[in-house]
């Protein structure tokens, strides 16, 4: 192919002593030979030098403009005088200022007035939805449907009450949460009852929603003696003390005889975290009005 380049090569490799020219590229080899591997004596590509120079130039400019090199106790600050903490806080402030324009309205929990302001609610609902998804959906479900152990927010069955004021209170202080004003509710274990009694009681409780339960029965008496104080007469609930109505099939753990047996044996003590320290008062009010509207819109969501 092409003739060997008149390339002024450094000294040849002593042991082999000869060079050869690669017919494809026209370069000679360095004379090294490792297990048949040779290397071409290609001159150093100019573009690599340029690229090194350019990237180095970029680096020098960056070092001059930004904080870059440590100098003992301090560092070079850079001509732009940037500080990443300040920049982050500044951007948060900007976004927060936009949000406060309308969110401040929720500082005052006059829920009736807020709900009546259709423009405000149209503006706020998408934000409330994201607030709900980021903080509540993990337990209560993407659409508020709840799950085993977590209440459905779309139905009308509430343990503490579904009006916005009550929901806001629950949000602030939680249930069985490490908060001094938390709501406390516990289903005690009835493991001291005989297993046969528990089985009768479970069958009775499981039959309550369908109306097939015989109240004038040993199990009915057991219920009246042990359960009525919290769950209401014949399990009708409505005391808003954290104990569910047993007549509406909305018990969060399930109401089949097997699950009720489990509940009677070990008890239940569900937890709702307190959000008072994590969300602002306005955000909690926003969420409370959102959640109570989810309930209204999906009235009787679970039959």
């Amino acid at each position: 192919m092409s003739a060997p380049r008149p390339y002024n090569a450094p000294d040849t490799d002593a042991p082999t002593g000869h060079r050869e020219v690669d017919p494809v590229t026209g370069y000679d080899t360095t004379g090294h030979d490792w297990n048949g591997i040779r290397e071409l004596n290609t001159p150093f590509p100019r573009i690599v030098v340029w690229a090194l120079g350019l990237t180095f130039l970029y680096s020098v400019v960056t070092w001059v403009l930004l904080p870059a090199w440590p100098t003992g106790h301090t560092y070079t600050r850079g001509l732009l005088g940037l500080d990443q903490s300040e920049a982050a806080v500044e951007r948060l402030r900007e976004v927060d200022a936009v949000r406060q324009g309308w969110l401040a309205r929720f500082d005052d929990p006059d829920f009736t007035a807020l709900a009546a302001d259709r423009d405000l609610m149209a503006w706020a609902t998408p934000a409330a939805d994201r607030l709900y998804q980021d903080n509540c959906a993990a337990c209560h479900g993407f659409a508020g449907g709840g799950g085993p152990g977590f209440p459905d927010l779309r139905d009308t069955a509430w343990l503490w009450g579904g009006d916005p004021e009550t929901v806001a209170e629950t949000l602030r202080h939680g249930i069985n949460a490490p908060d001094p004003d938390t709501r406390i509710a516990e289903m005690p274990a009835f493991d001291w009852l005989d297993r046969s009694e528990r089985r009768e009681l479970a069958a009775y409780v499981a039959a309550l929603p369908t109306g097939d339960a015989t109240h004038d029965s040993p199990a009915g008496f057991l219920f009246a003696e042990n359960c009525e104080a919290c769950h209401g007469a014949q399990g009708g609930g409505g005391l808003m003390n954290g104990a569910p109505s047993l007549a509406d099939a909305a018990v969060i753990y399930g109401q089949d005889p097997g699950t009720v047996m489990e509940t009677l044996r070990v008890g239940r003590r569900g937890v709702m975290p307190a959000w008072g320290d994590r969300l602002s008062a306005a955000e909690i009010n926003l969420l409370a009005s959102y959640v109570s509207r989810v309930s209204e819109n999906g009235k009787g969501g679970r039959e």
């Binding site: 590509p45 870059a68 994201r130």
Partner: protein
């Protein structure tokens, strides 16, 4: 293995095996229960198995023929390639499984050891250290001997390195399953496993230096520089990042001596240089040997290979801080990491360019030979992922990509496209040689492997690019009310199709690796003469 050792070496081997068994017994007795006791029993079992294996053949098997120092020592390489393929299947299968769990989280079985958090490091350690590490050690023994025209300095230490290293990997992976971890990414193994690796690595380094010192070539080939950088710097990174105080000598728990942002910086100095010196330098050594050998072409530029080597070694060590952009790490450290990452692109592309230009004059072979095509694709993906790496290291770009699946895609462009491809190219070049044959047993299967590997990589990487950019944009978009436009869970739900594609791509890649392992097994079973090669005259050292 035993047939290649002399009687006295077999005796030393038994002494070493007894020591290993005693070490295991000591660990088990000291810990009494828990992870460390199980690991002690594993070491004891391995020690006993080796005692029986060597002892049973102590006087029965004939000694190696005289004059073995005139031949290369390939038995350790053969064993190392076998372990490479075994770990490839274990590590990649774990990867496909955890990828599937991200799409079907409900499929997680109810046992603790099957949880995502325990299986994910099984995947990373299995592929990086099990697959990659064994491939590096096995090929380094081959390359070192051929380019030095010298036999390995002694017959026992290669086995100490390989068996000891695989014990480390097995300890690490079984420890994760039992819930034992230091919580440092890619350095999860506990303190005694780390100490054990230091011992193994010292033997490896000593063996490498001693063999280089016996070389019959006046110059040290650039591949050896890369392998040496890999061994030396990995030792330094491993020791510094794993400095920890054990809770007690009998427990698999420890506290790192680093704290706060220093801990984070040391971890990512380690983490990124594990990419640099484990997943790049060593595999560049592999590329610089197997690519010219397979293509029959001289390295395109000697000068470029030397400058690239020093450029890569010098720049890489600075760039770990780009993993900590916009964190508590001081801004100045982030700036330095960013600028050095940008400069690093030049020697990286110089290496990739040198490899591709080496193929000038051999493009017909790239077309016809799937083995060489593996290496060509590796060089292309090396160039691609180093460009991507430098790009993602720029702070504003990183603010979009950080914590997203783009990072996962970037890593897999490097590990699937570059690291695994060059390993498969090297394996298909080596295994026929080791088996004393001209070709692999099923030459057509190399094509199937090639296309499933390339297809799998592309599906994986493109899915993750889309996933990552989508996530990054969803997380940073505010609507006009000043509220985030998307909740986090919406961004998770959006990932579903990409996660499904990722699982598919990974499964294709795993399928190729299984074909490769079966092909290698068939090739080794149909082996011709197993006599060690001596393709160049080795100067005879006095008989050992």
């Amino acid at each position: 293995m035993v047939g290649t050792l002399t009687r006295s070496e077999r005796r030393i081997g038994i002494v070493l095996s007894v020591s290993l068994g005693l070490l295991g017994l000591g660990m088990a007795a000291g810990a009494r229960h828990g992870v460390m006791a199980v690991h002690g029993m594993m070491a004891l079992g391995l020690g006993l198995a080796l005692i029986f294996h060597i002892g049973g053949a102590l006087y029965d098997e004939p000694e190696p023929a005289p004059g073995r120092s005139g031949r290369y020592y390939d038995a350790p390489t053969r064993f190392g390639i076998g372990m490479t393929l075994l770990w490839a299947i274990v590590g990649m299968a774990a990867g496909v499984w955890v990828a599937a769990l991200l799409y079907w989280p409900e499929a997680t079985p109810p046992w603790p050891w099957t949880s995502f958090g325990r299986l994910r490091p099984v995947h990373t350690t299995g592929v990086i250290f099990g697959f990659g590490g064994n491939a590096l050690i096995a090929t380094s023994f081959h390359v070192l001997q051929r380019t030095s025209r010298a036999r390995l300095a002694d017959a026992l230490s290669p086995w100490v390195v390989l068996i000891g290293y695989n014990l480390f990997c097995a300890w690490a992976v079984t420890g994760y399953l039992m819930g034992s971890t230091q919580s440092k990414e890619y350095a999860e193994a506990e303190w005694y496993a780390d100490l054990w690796l230091v011992v193994v690595w010292s033997v490896y380094f000593t063996l490498y230096i001693r063999t280089l010192a016996r070389r019959n070539e006046p110059h040290i080939y650039v591949a050896n520089w890369y392998y040496l950088a890999f061994i030396l710097v990995v030792a330094m990174l491993h020791v510094v990042n794993n400095l920890a105080l054990p809770v007690s000598l009998g427990a698999a728990d420890s506290f790192t001596i680093w704290s706060g942002v220093q801990d984070a910086m040391i971890q990512w100095w380690y983490g990124h240089n594990a990419v640099a010196f484990f997943l790049t330098a060593g595999f560049l050594g592999m590329l610089y040997y197997f690519l010219p050998v397979r293509s029959g072409r001289p390295i395109w530029s000697y000068r470029l290979s030397i400058v690239s080597f020093w450029g890569i070694v010098f720049f890489y060590i600075w760039v770990g801080s780009h993993h900590l952009h916009y964190t508590a790490l001081p801004y100045w450290a982030q700036t330095l990491g960013m600028t050095f990452s940008v400069m690093l692109l030049v020697p990286s592309w110089a290496s990739a360019g040198n490899a591709i230009a080496t193929l000038n004059g051999a493009w017909h072979k790239v077309r016809d030979d799937a083995t060489l095509r593996f290496m060509f694709v590796a060089a292309v993906f090396y160039g691609l992922s180093t460009f991507e790496g430098s790009f993602l290291a720029i702070r504003p770009v990183n603010s979009l990509s950080h914590y997203t699946d783009w990072t996962v895609g970037h890593v897999h462009a490097g590990t699937l496209g570059w690291v695994a491809m060059i390993v498969f190219g090297a394996i298909y070049t080596l295994v026929p040689q080791l088996a004393g044959r001209e070709t692999m047993a099923w030459p057509r299967a190399i094509e199937w492997h090639f296309w499933s590997a390339v297809g799998g990589t592309l599906v994986y990487v493109i899915a993750m690019w889309n996933a990552g950019i989508t996530q990054g944009l969803m997380w940073r978009t505010y609507d006009e009310s000043g509220a985030l436009s998307y909740s986090f869970i919406e961004s998770v739900r959006t990932m579903a199709p990409y996660y499904l594609l990722r699982t598919l791509g990974g499964a294709m890649f795993l399928g190729g690796a299984v074909i490769c392992a079966l092909n290698c097994r068939a090739t080794m079973r149909a082996a011709g003469g197993r006599e060690d090669a001596a393709d160049h005259p080795l100067s005879l050292h006095p008989a050992e």
